[in-house]
């Protein structure tokens, strides 16, 4: 722990810290452009100059200088001030003064820092350099004249995303940042460079010229496009959500979110269910709440009522639905709408026990049946970090393009019973081995064989639990905690022949077995579920209600309501509450607070914003044998949920980036 002095204040800094970090620990703000906590150090913008003794009598770039014992660091001398002004002046030589029409305006590092550290006026009269803008695909808009060559974007795609997509051409003043051959940036995290870019060179294309940061209302929320539960901030104006940005949470998403989480929000204004629809004579017709409720009551469901939860519902909605069903005497609730029926008697066995942050430390990982890049793009980033620090990664399942060295050892899940010797050896010898089981593996009954391997390799040891199940839907862990599961999955529900089926945004379920039932769709988007329903009750999307979500790690997180639901749509719990009245039963809550309090009383873990404790892994049932070729549930990364399917941006991404349709328009 070297001891340094920052502006006369003595402090100990951790080993390996840089002078910039030391200054931050001392509470001094150091202006910077190229330095970023989660990227390698480039040291090319020179904005972070400070004075350091001992050393040459000139300012030094603090981000690239290791803090050493006895250093005297000064950030407030005239020399530092002059150096910052000088660097700022150099940066502004070629930077256009188009802040009034620049989308970065108001959230631009260059703008802020030139106000704080720059000179009052420009002394530069010569022409500015101009750079042609580059095509980076449907998500990233480029105005390359604004680039200050910090190379954050280059380092991000190389180091974090693991694809060599963005690079620099030419040298010195002529340097230009571009994608390789100006192809679109294609990976799932590409749009994070927009946040990283300290200036307005890379901005958001769908959001171009939509709003200014200061006119937006910011709401803390949770992403529901996958089970990672990335922390996001919803920026809205009036009744419309304009964008979603990542929030920093080192345990979950670090500082990134997937492109889907970021750009599906435009789907929130399309294909919305905003009134009640009732099927009359085979055709859906606009109707009223009263009529719909009367119709459901007339069906006299009694205890023949079932509820199926979709992938994006919050815990409160599911709890309210279960309450309603219980009051009617039924417990036919299920959330695994595609018909999976893995054993949920012990939730530890279906949880991502290692945790996203910890998985980085794994030294051998066996992934079974998960297209991690598509199912949990942010977990893929962690796995890449693990691989970079030497972890061996093996995959079972159809091949996909990994962003790290990995070995595919077969597409058939039966490989688990007969692993290649080198894999078994690597896993059993590893200090922190981890197994990750995806949905495709669960569908083929790999849970117990994997538990057997867990016992064999001793995955659970002191301070380490290497047994993981990676879910894909944001509602999954919450639904399992609320008991939204039948032993036989959807088949049990179908066998019970319910008279009324409440579908809580379940768009993936098979409606065939419920041909005779009155299907009531409570959801926010007109997708498969709505088309097949007899009665449609418009509900709120995840941005339009407060809710609790549990990610695949079992982490309980709260999301706030950002905007109001459109038209006649109501928050889900109010619909279920009103339905209880119509059916003449009492559910025991009249307000959201009561509902939440009841839910927490029943499942206390949902009351703490922390990782829920599910106890120890169960014993494996050795008799279960898994077999069959796996296939990943996701066929198209951009089209996995009703919001994304409604989103024009996601549709364009799917067409251009995955299916190579439509020529990318020339950048200009």
């Amino acid at each position: 722990m070297p001891k340094v002095t920052v502006d006369g204040q003595e402090l100990d800094v951790p080993d390996g810290a840089t002078v910039l970090q030391a200054c931050e620990l001392a509470g001094k703000e150091i202006p910077r452009f190229c330095y970023h906590e989660r990227l390698s150090i480039a040291g090319n913008c020179r904005m972070c100059l400070v004075e350091v003794k001992p050393g040459p009598p000139k300012p030094q770039a603090s981000c690239a200088l290791p803090a050493a014992e006895g250093q005297q660091i000064r950030t407030d001398t005239p020399m530092v001030k002059k150096a910052r002004e000088g660097v700022m002046e150099f940066l502004l030589i070629n930077h256009p003064l188009d802040c009034p029409i620049c989308d970065q305006g108001g959230e631009c590092d260059l703008q802020d820092q030139s106000v704080a550290y720059g000179r009052g006026a420009s002394r530069y009269h010569e022409h500015k350099r101009a750079v042609t803008s580059k095509n980076m695909g449907p998500l990233i808009k480029t105005i390359m004249t604004r680039c200050i060559h910090c190379t954050r974007c280059v380092r991000f795609s190389e180091e974090v995303a693991g694809v060599d997509e963005i690079g620099a051409l030419y040298r010195g003043e002529n340097m230009q940042i571009t994608t390789y051959l100006e192809q679109a940036a294609k990976h799932e995290l590409s749009a994070n460079v927009i946040d990283l870019c300290p200036v307005g060179a890379l901005t958001s294309r769908p959001y171009a010229y939509e709003a200014r940061p200061w006119e937006l209302k910011k709401t803390m929320s949770i992403d529901v496009s996958d089970a990672v539960g990335a922390n996001i901030r919803i920026d809205s104006r009036g009744r419309e959500v304009l964008r979603a940005l990542p929030r920093i949470n080192d345990d979950v998403n670090e500082e990134w979110i997937s492109d889907k989480a970021r750009y599906q929000v435009d789907g929130l204004t399309r294909r919305r269910l905003d009134k009640v629809w009732i099927r009359k004579a085979g055709k859906l017709q606009a109707s009223s709440w009263n009529e719909a409720f009367e119709l459901i009551a007339a069906a006299k469901p009694g205890k023949d009522i079932a509820a199926v939860a979709g992938d994006m519902v919050d815990c409160e909605t599911m709890f309210a639905a279960r309450k309603l069903l219980n009051a009617l005497g039924s417990n036919l609730v299920e959330s695994r709408q595609t018909g999976m029926n893995y054993d949920v008697s012990n939730l530890a066995a279906v949880n991502f026990n290692t945790g996203f942050a910890e998985i980085e430390n794994a030294d051998a990982v066996l992934i079974v049946g998960s297209h991690v890049r598509w199912e949990a793009a942010l977990l893929n980033v962690r796995l890449r970090k693990a691989a970079k620090s030497g972890a061996k990664i093996f995959l079972v399942g159809p091949e996909w393009e990994t962003t790290y060295p990995a070995e595919f050892i077969g597409a058939d899940v039966s490989v688990l019973h007969d692993l290649p010797a080198h894999v078994a050896e690597a896993m059993s010898k590893a200090e922190r081995p981890a197994v990750i089981l995806g949905g495709a593996a669960l569908a083929k009954g790999a849970l117990h064989p994997a538990l057997a391997l867990a016992a064999e390799w001793n995955l659970v040891r002191d301070g380490w639990n290497g047994f993981n199940v990676l879910h894909f839907s944001a509602a999954r862990m919450g639904s399992l905690m609320l008991g939204f599961a039948q032993k036989g999955g959807m088949a049990d529900i179908a066998a019970a022949k319910p008279k009324v089926v409440l579908s809580l945004g379940a768009d993936e379920m098979d409606l065939e077995p419920f041909a005779d039932a009155l299907k009531v769709y409570i959801g926010h988007h007109g997708d498969k579920g709505a088309h097949g329903a007899e009665i449609i009750l418009p509900a709120a999307a995840f941005t339009e209600k407060s809710g609790t979500y549990v990610n695949t790690e079992g982490r309980v997180q709260l999301a706030d309501k950002a905007v109001f639901a459109p038209g006649d749509a109501r928050e889900d719990w109010t619909i279920l509450r009103a339905l209880a009245d119509a059916l003449g039963v009492s559910v025991g809550f009249d307000s959201f607070e009561q509902l939440r309090a009841q839910m927490i009383a029943e499942v206390p873990a949902l009351g703490h914003e922390a990782v829920a404790d599910y106890g120890a892994l169960p014993k494996a049932d050795m008799s279960v044998k898994a077999s069959g070729a796996m296939s990943y549930p996701i066929k198209d990364f951009y089209m996995t949920n009703p919001i994304a399917r409604a989103s024009a941006v996601m549709q364009q991404c799917s067409a251009e980036l995955l299916h190579g349709e439509a020529l990318p328009e020339a950048a200009e």
């Binding site: 419309e240 294909r271 919305r272 269910l273 007109g526 709505a530």
Partner: protein, 132 residues
């Protein structure tokens, strides 16, 4: 115009009283392109000035008086328009009364009455319909 509406309404042309009074005390001096008839009093009034008036053919709307007759009515000049104004040029458009407040008022292309659509604004959404 039937005799009944002549008796009971006052918004089109002259009432019976005015017509009678005009035929007794006025002299019809001319008619404009819309058929409005212009009168002059036979005798000067108390201030020694001649009175001039118009009886509309149709709606009593002052903006229906064309410019040349407007000048005469307001004593801007004494001669009748035909006798001292140059004949209208062929490129002059016909006089049109003020349409404000009437159905034929001008409405720009985007006006809602023209079936125009308002521009997209925040909060707009596209609702789902079963046939979509």
């Amino acid at each position: 115009m039937g005799i009944l509406s002549k008796i009971f309404t006052w918004w089109d042309g002259a009432t019976i009283g005015t017509s009678l009074w005009s035929s007794r005390n006025g002299k019809h001096v001319g008619t404009d392109a819309q058929g409005n008839r212009y009168f002059r009093s036979k005798k000067p009034d108390a201030r020694g000035r001649e009175r001039r008036w118009v009886i509309y053919a149709g709606a009593n709307d002052a903006s229906r008086v064309p410019a040349e007759w407007h000048g005469w009515l307001h004593h801007s000049y004494d001669d009748l328009p035909e006798s001292h104004l140059p004949p209208p040029k062929i490129w002059e458009v016909d006089y049109t009364p003020n349409a404000t407040g009437t159905l034929s008022a001008y409405r720009p292309k985007g006006a809602l009455e023209q079936g125009g659509k308002r521009a997209r604004a925040t909060g707009d959404y596209e609702a789902w319909t079963p046939d979509a």
